[in-house]
Each structure stands twice: as C-alpha cells, then as structure tokens.
C-alpha cells in the first residue's frame, strides 16, 4: 500500500498544483511540501527492503494472466530513493529558476513535472515488463509538454525528435522484445536469477538483448541518443531532474533490470550472445565524450556528458558479473547527484547572468562563487575523482572490469575519463582564473536555486564519505545472483 501511496503522492501534488494555479506561493508550496511528504514513504519502503522484505501489490488485472503490479526489490529501491530525494530539491530550484526567468505557464510546468515523478516511481516499483512499459511510456508523454515548454519552432522540432525517438524505439523494439519474452517464457515477471529459459540459442539472446538495449531509448545508447541533446531546449530544472536523473536513469535502470531479472547474468555470461553490448556501450561513451568536448553550449556539453555517463552504466552491466552490476547500480546514484548539481549551476548562471556558452564564462566564478564551487565538485564527480560520489561508483566499475579482465571496458573508461577532465576542468579554470568582462553586473541566482544546488553538491560529497546504506542495499541486489 505504501507503494501505491508513493506513486499517488506526486499525482496528488499535480492535482493540488493545478487547483492552486492562481496563487503562485501556495502552488509552489504544495509542490515542495508533497515532495517532502514523499520522503518518509520511500524511506519506509527502503527500510522494508533493507530488512529483507519484498513489498508487493497488484493494482489491476489488466489482461488475462498479466496484472499491473508493483514489487520492490533493491535495485528499484535505489532508483526510487534517488528520484525521491532529488524531487523537492529540484522543485525548490525550479521556483527560483521559473520566477527568475519569468517563464510562462508555470502551473502546467509543475503539473507535468509531478506526473513525471509519479511515472518514475511506477517504473522503479514495477513487478513485470507490462507495468514497466506502461509507466515508461507515461514518463515519455508526461515530459513532452516540458520539453516543448517554450512553445516556439525550435522546441516544437525538439519535441518531435524527443517523442519520435523515444516512442519509436520503445514501440518498435522494446514492445516487440517484451512480447517476444512473453512468448518465450510465458510471462513477463521480473524473476530472481532470470526469467528466460536457459537453453536459448546465441542468436535469440543476441537479438532479444538488442531489442531491449536499443528499445530502451531512454538509456541513450548510440545511435538512439539524439533525443537527449534535443531535450535541452526545456527549462533547466527539467534538464536537471528529468534529463539527468529521472528519465535517463529510468532508461539505464530498465537495462539493468532486464539484464538481471529477465535474462539473468548467468545466462548472458554463459551464452555469449550478448557480448556485443560492451562494445556498443564503450564506443558510445568515447564518442559522446569527444562530442562533448566540441560543444560550446554549456547545456549541450552536459547532455553529451550524460550520454557518456549513461553508457558507463550499460558498459558496467554488460560485463555480466555481480560485482559489475553493483558498480552499475551505484553509478545510477553516483552520477545523479553530480549531474543535477552541474545542471543546477548551468541554470543559475543562465538565470542571473543570461550566459549559455562555455566561451562566455570568463570570471563567472568570482561573481557566483557558491554556484561555481558546486559546479567544480560536480565536475570532479563526473571525472570520478575524490571526494565525490562519482569516484565511488567508478571505482567499483573499474575494479569489476579489471577482475573480469574486460580490457575494452577499461580502455573505454580510461579514455573517457581523460576526456571528461578535458571538457570540465577548463570551465572551472575559466570561471575562476580569467577576469570577467568589465560590464558584468550580476551576482548569485535567486536563493532557492543556490540553496538547491548547494544541497545536491553536499549530497555528492555525502555519498562519498557515507556510502554505507546505499552499498548495503546494492549488495542485497547481487546476493541473489
């Protein structure tokens, strides 16, 4: 029941926001409040999972033999935890951003935002492929109005690309994969150790894995990554929470979930039909990093960085060992805190200084020191240096890759790490070391935004010094494997 309540809380928030649209303070208060109300619910769920329980709930008998149902296991708990933790912070940030920029249609914005969070939780809780697919599509459609928020020609085109790629891949590939799975296994329930029969041929495993890996367009594996840079036309809070955390993490979460609970790591490791995945993921991470290096638009640079970081997760999971799965899952959290900080900082710079290009950022650090310090911490997390969350997860991934002697993965990780440093550190250097133009007249962004980005920066740091509970949770995931 707590799961249903947790999914409904953001929906209730959407309703309250819609009703109180005329009074901005009340409306935004509701948004943040409902976000905070969600914390204890998810905390309780995580506590239950840590205690060894598997909360289950069947919502509705949708098709003969297939229910719309929830079942929470450690992986879902991690994902739900990350999304829930960041939602009120992002809302707080939005308040500063949306007001600071005088954005139109703010009520619609918060409504869609809340619905998207609800869909995200649905994905995290889903007990079978059908449920996952239902919420996956709900997430796509609820974020479309957010991507096209500006309503001009550019955002309409971006919206077309966004829907086209995400729905196209999910319907043509993912749905086909789901139905094929139903055909092969008789159900779509996520099962410990894998659902599919163990005697599948190499070709079937390879093709089915391709249907999933590319069909889950939200994981932004090349060549289906184009929607992510396109989605950057959205207001920055959307890019921050949805296109750095909720949506894209829903993608890699689904990939891990399918690999672990549908195929089973043993099947994939033994069969060999899925060995190609590591090369696609490795190539994606390197190409994305190279592309990021060439972007002058800050948000686009961050977007390509996200593509690269998502590919880390897929890369890790495609090593097909428990240790690597642990690293992959940790990276969902590890990347989330750092990347949302970076986007928050980018949005803060846009709000107060109206700068969008990297080449304009000379001396920004002197005028917005808190923002840029947070940005620096986020950058370290992306590169994978201490004292940040990114170091922790990357450490686990590298160790697992070395243990499994996955040399290609190691090379890809090394190359992209160097590139990460090459496209993040110059920004920080430019912001602090170079002088600002003489006519620069701006300070920090609105306090809500600064508070939010400081909080996420602290989370990035906190996950490094206190990873205990998170690692415990993830260990429970791989114990069953």
């Amino acid at each position: 029941m707590i799961m249903l309540a947790a999914v409904c809380t953001p929906l209730l928030a959407a309703l309250l926001v819609a009703l109180s649209g005329r009074w901005p303070n009340v409306r935004d208060g509701f948004s943040v409040l409902m976000g905070l109300l969600l914390w204890p619910q998810v905390a309780m769920l995580v506590y239950m999972v840590l205690a060894g329980d598997t909360p289950e709930l069947s919502l509705v008998k949708m098709l003969p033999g297939v229910d719309l149902a929830f079942s929470l296991e450690p992986l879902g708990a991690v994902f739900a935890c990350v999304a829930t933790l960041l939602w009120p912070i992002a809302t707080l940030y939005s308040v500063g951003y949306m007001r600071g920029n005088n954005e139109p249609r703010q009520t619609q914005f918060y409504v869609c935002f809340a619905i998207a969070i609800s869909a995200t939780l649905g994905i995290a809780f889903s007990a079978n492929l059908l449920t996952l697919f239902v919420f996956y599509e709900a997430l796509t459609f609820s974020t479309y109005p957010l991507v096209t928020h500006k309503g001009d020609e550019a955002s309409r085109q971006a919206g077309r690309k966004y829907l086209g790629i995400l729905v196209g891949t999910s319907v043509c590939l993912l749905l086909a994969g789901i139905l094929w799975t139903h055909q092969l296994a008789g159900s779509g329930d996520f099962t410990k150790g894998g659902l599919l029969p163990k005697d599948l041929s190499k070709a079937v495993v390879g093709i089915l894995l391709a249907l999933y890996a590319f069909g889950i367009g939200k994981a932004a594996l090349m060549p289906f990554h184009g929607w992510l840079p396109a989605a950057m036309v959205a207001p920055t809070p959307v890019s921050a929470l949805l296109h750095a955390v909720a949506v894209v993490k829903a993608g890699v979460f689904t990939v891990i979930k399918v690999v672990v609970y549908i195929f089973g790591i043993d099947l994939l490791a033994g069969n060999g039909g899925g060995n190609w995945l590591i090369y696609v993921a490795g190539t994606t991470t390197m190409i994305a990093s190279l592309t990021a290096l060439q972007q002058d638009n800050l948000k686009r640079r961050l977007a390509f960085s996200t593509i690269g970081q998502l590919a880390y997760v897929v890369l890790a999971v495609s090593i097909f060992t428990p240790a690597a799965t642990l690293g992959a899952t940790l990276h969902i959290a590890g990347h989330a805190f750092g990347k949302i900080t970076l986007f928050f900082a980018a949005g803060a710079i846009y709000t107060s200084a109206h700068l969008t290009l990297v080449s304009q950022l000379d001396g920004v650090g002197r005028r917005m020191p808190i923002t840029l310090l947070a940005f620096g911490l986020g950058s370290l997390s992306m590169i994978g240096l201490p004292p940040t969350a990114g170091f922790l997860s990357k450490f686990y991934i590298v160790m697992a890759a070395a243990e499994a002697e996955a040399w290609f993965a190691l090379i890809a990780l090394a190359v992209s790490t160097v590139l990460n440093a090459a496209y993040f550190l110059p920004i920080v250097y430019r912001a602090f070391a170079k002088p600002a133009p003489v006519d620069a007249r701006y300070g920090e962004a609105p306090w809500q935004s600064v508070l939010a980005l400081s909080l996420t920066a602290m989370l990035t740091f906190a996950m490094f010094i206190q990873p205990g509970p998170l690692v415990d949770l993830v260990r429970m995931l791989i114990e069953g494997l």
């Binding site: 509705v60 008998k61 719309l68 459609f141 309409r156 319907v171 139905l179």
Partner: protein, 500 residues
Amino acid sequence: MAPEMSLISTVQAHLPVLPVVTALVAAPLAMLVRRPAMAWLVATAAAVLLLIFSLMLLPATAAGPLSYAVGGWQPPYGIELRVDRLTVIVLLLISVVAVAAMPYARASALVEIAEDKQHLFYSCLLLCLTGLVGMTVTGDAFNVFVFLEISSLSTYALIGMGRQRRALMAAYRYLILGTLGGTFFLIGIGLLYAMTGTLNMADMAMRLEPVRDSRTVLAATAFITVGLGLKLALFPLHAWLPNAYSYAPSAVTVLIAGCATKVAIYLSLRMHYNVLGVDFTGEGMQLAPMLAIFGLVGLIVCSLVALFENNVKRLLAYSSVAQIGYIVLAISLASNTGLTAGIVHLLNHAVVKAGLFMAVGAMVWRCGSDDLQVLAGIGKRMPITSAAFVVGGLALIGVPLTAGFITKWYLVTAAIEQQAWLLVVAILAASIIALGYIGKIIEVAYFRPSPVGAPVGEASPLMLLSMWSLVLMSVALGVWADGTVTLAGQAADVLLGARR
C-alpha cells in the same frame, strides 16, 4: 408479482429478437411524432433499450449460443436468429456507440439539419441501426442481405443530408459501390443456395462440407469476399469511405465510422469461418495470404496518406481504413490469438474512432472548416474538446492504458506466435505513423497561435457528454481489458470451433 415475472420471462424468451424489433418499431415512430425533440427522445429510448437488451444477452449466452425461431417457424425452414459470444460483442459495440452518439446527434442535428427534416434524420438513423443489428443477430443468409440493404439505403440518405453539396456526390458514390458490394454478396448467397438448397447459415455450413472444393462454392466465396470487402472498406476497395466520412453530418460519421464497417467485418468473419469454413491455412484458395497482403498494404499506405492529409476529417477517415487493415491482418492470421486481437480491436476501434470523430466534428463545427490550419490554437479555444481529442488520439496510437494498446499487444503476440516477423514490424511501424498524424494535429492545436478573430467557445454540453463518455470508455477498455479480452477469446473459439 405475477405479471412482472411474466414480463421478465417474456423478455427473456424473446431476447434475441428484441433488439431488432426495438429499432424497427422506433424508426416509423420517430417519423410520426415529427417534433424534432420528440423524435430524438424516441431514438434515444430505442438506443438505451438496445443497450439493455445487449447487456441482458451477455449472461444469457455464457453457456452457449441462443437460437430463436422467428414467428415460431423452426429452422432451417423459418428464419433463425442466432446469438453467440461474437454476436453479443458486436451488439454491445453498436448499442454503446449508438447510446453515446445520441446526445451528440441532437446537438449536431440542430445545426446541420434543417428543422423540418430532423425527424426523418432520426428515423433514418434508427433504420440504419435496425439493419446493423439485424445483420448481427440473424442466422439466415438471405436475411443478412435484407438487413444489409436496410442499413445501406438509410446510410445513403443520411450521408446525403450533409451540409455541403458534395455530400450528395459522396452519397452517390457510396450508393454505387455499396450496391455493387451488396449485389456481389447476393450473388454469392445465390450460388450457395444453388449448391445447398438452404439459406440457414448453420444448415448451409453442414451441407457445404462435401462440396467445399467445387467451383461453384469457390466462386461464391470470391463473390462474398469481394462484396463484403467493399462494405468493410478493405484496401483497395475503400474508395467510397473518405468522402462519405468527411461530408456526412458529423453524427452520421460517428455512427458509420463506429459501427457500419465493423458489422461488415463481423459478417465477413461469420461467413468465412462459420459458413464457408474457408481453410485459411490449407492448400485450396489462398485467402489468408491475400487478406494479409491487402491488410498490410492498406495499413501502411493509408497510414501514410493520413500522415500527409491536411483535412482533419479525411485524415481520420484514412486512419480508419488503416485500422481496418489491422483487423484484416488479425483475421488472416487465423489463430485464436489473432482472432482475439481482431475482435478486441473491432470493439476498441469503434469506441476510439467514434470519440475522435465527435471531437473533430465539434472543432469543425466551431471553426466552420475542416482544414487543419484553421484549427490553429484550438487547444486554447476549446480546451475540453481538445483534451478529449488528445486522449482519443493516444488511444488510437496505442499508448499503454488505452484501448489501442491492448489490441497491439495481442496482434503482435499473434504475429510472433506464427513467426511472421514482417507483420510485427509493419504493425509497430504503423503505430509510429499514427503518432505522426495525431501529433501533427496536436501540434497545430496547441502550438500555433489562434488566427485573429477566430471563433472561441466550447462545444455544446451534449456534445461534450457524448465525446467524453466514449473517450473515458476507451481508457477503461485499456485498463480493465481482462473482461473484453476474455470475451473476445470466447468469440474466437466460436469462430474456430466450427472448423474443428
């Protein structure tokens, strides 16, 4: 207490014939009362009764088919009405769409039909329903033809009542092609009668057994297939449909888009599976691959035509032809899953498309034109109607939690079962094209600024009531699909059972 009991038991005893009788009696009644409001009331009452009887038939057929001898003349000599699970589904489809369409018909008739002709309009509507219901319940092949003509003739008149003069041309075109279809069907029945000496469908099926491969029966099959193909707008026999749908009064479009083609599909299922017993998988006539090809090409081609169409009503009309392609594909798979998918889609698409035509009809009525560009900014000018269109559109695309998704789920499953990978690709690709043409309308409706001086204002409450009841039903059919799918599965068993 006794008289009530006897009324109920009388109703129970005559249940199969009551839907036809209700509509048939109501039709002249609507004409006689003359006052538009009264005529509408008669039509609505008839539609509601129709729904009640259909719902009563639902539990009544759970054990097995009901047979009813009209006038007490026993089959195979008298006319037999036969109601099984498949019949009930189609009856429910017709009555649900009819009930939902009635408030809309009132609102649309007020503005689209001259006042002194409105009672005739309702009368024709009821006659059309009589024909549709009759075709569904009858177990007599010639009787099918009679009801087919009743529904067709009234439909020609209804289409001709459209506001534009082009409506007459559309009605005439449909008349020519529809009559051709009806005649072909009759020739087929005549050939079968010559071979078997009976018109009772069950009897006919039995007597056809030994002569199944004779040239006459094959010729009859061909005539019936093409005749019904015209009626159900099977690609490439769909030429009448886009014009008929776009120029008819909007309430008529709703009804024929929802029901007319669906009943023709039902007839095709009934004739091919239960009477002719066409061996879809075997050697004989290669009907299955032929249907599959026409269904497939129709699906893709008409979806693409819809994608580039700039007249919203025609766009939806082409989308209908494409969706018929889905159903034909499902039929051609000739498996339980495939038929289940087809039958579910019969119901789902009727509800979804009727709802969409209502929304678009209201927009067109408000804007005075069915050109896509005129709808710019309609999302702000008619928020409730536009929202209904969005939800209906999502259902047409087949987004999860809507009716369209259920169909897609079973259709693709059926294709995977038979390892028809090309079909899997085509079915999924077509839903992406649907995303394209629905998205095109939504973009114009929500992202283009309204032209200066564009008419503002919601559709009338009656219209909103109608469209939202159907739109919500298309969501309900997608969430609680367990019941409909089980029912459709039983109907598929009825169809396949005859061949076992």
